[in-house]
Symmetry: C2
């Protein structure tokens, strides 16, 4: 499986993806699921992928190929993030149609894609492209999307995240969301790819790979366990009607 | 949907179930999913159910009917918790076979059942009865089972729970697991039914119903949100390589 999480906040974007893929429990590999595109100073586009790896690689491959061969439309010539999401949705539909015209059968090869970024002259956006190629857009009410194994890491986002949250707080919140998922589900695994984009910077972030022995991630994971254990103990004792 | 959680710990059992059922989003009802049986001073047996409501009610109905008509075997005459789990598995198989002999088709009407309790002369046990009627038993390594919408509430159990945890700490841990689930998934809803059984007491607990306006649950839910928010802020600031 996969876990990808993307936050679109007042100050920028926080994107984190895991890298574990599996075809059965005995065929586990590491594949990057966070992909960046763009032109420094002009546009930044990131894709996070979950689902069938051949399909997501084909979508990324077609997008990259169009850039290499300067075929129109491509990620460097579309005008807005909406057009980026449309291009990705169309590319996904084409990849699936190449396998079969049966829409029901297509779902066996499908994927979900988070698309985030900003193009000069347009707002910073975050889209969730569904397996059918249509998509929804993040808002101030719902400032984050998740794809893949999303449930374990949802409670911390639902409790703590808000649109105006500073980027460093939001990053820690997202990292804890990943840590919770990693501990509860072996199909999501290290290393993680994380990046922070500052709104209106139009700078393509290098991003960071978080591996097994990453000191900062290990430290916050450990401290978070202690926070939870201490927090539980500090809760008031159950009332008498619990028969303790 | 449903969320039921059962902990089998050194000192006793902690069982919590929600009560929300839904047949479509416009048909939401309250049904008890935590059922107790037994004879005070001799045996305590609890069932927690998820899945098809007609099936779970039929299983409970058959078990209760056998008690009323003193048909053998019944929950008050079997000798061990293993035999309890076997009786429940068989009852479930019978209920499903009454609908159809097609095992694949049966899965459309199926359910999961957690069975916990203790009978004089036997160990306290916790079983997870699968939709097929077979079952597994909790151990000191894996002291808890969940059925239904289990993922949201799993991280806190995975981080904090251990076999020798005192019952009052474990109860708070399970309540927070429910609170996390309630906040992230509308298919799990209040009121909750909770009970604590003390090992070797052979006393059937009254249990407690936790409703919308329960002061203690509201208080720990609010305090937990603060714990998480403060805990996130107290994590060390992200390192420079995150480009913040």
């Amino acid at each position: 499986m996969t876990y990808c999480c993307a936050l679109r906040l007042e100050q920028g974007l926080v994107l984190i993806s895991d890298t574990r893929t599996n075809a059965g429990v005995d065929h586990i590999s590491v594949f990057r699921k966070l992909h960046t595109f763009g032109v420094d100073g002009e546009r930044f586009i990131a894709l996070q992928t979950s689902g069938n790896l051949a399909t997501t690689q084909a979508v990324i491959g077609h997008l990259q190929n169009a850039l290499t061969l300067r075929q129109e439309p491509n990620l460097n010539t579309v005008n807005t993030m909406f057009e980026v999401a449309e291009l990705i949705g169309k590319t996904l539909r084409k990849v699936l149609a190449d396998i079969t015209s049966d829409l029901h059968e297509q779902m066996n090869y499908s994927c979900s894609i988070l698309v985030a970024g900003q193009i000069q002259g347009d707002k910073m956006q975050l889209y969730n492209v569904y397996p059918q190629g249509n998509f929804i857009c993040a808002t101030t009410d719902t400032p984050y999307f998740q794809i893949g194994e999303s449930k374990y890491g949802k409670p911390i986002l639902d409790r703590a995240l808000y649109y105006k949250m500073p980027l460093d707080d939001a990053l820690r919140c997202a990292l804890i969301s990943f840590d919770s998922t990693l501990r509860s589900n072996v199909s999501v695994g290290l290393p993680l790819d994380a990046l922070v984009y500052h709104k209106d910077s139009f700078k393509i972030p290098t991003g960071k790979r978080i591996s097994e022995n990453d000191l900062y991630f290990t430290q916050i994971s450990k401290q978070w366990s202690e926070t939870l254990r201490r927090g539980l103990q500090e809760l008031p004792k159950p009332t008498a009607d619990y028969d303790l």
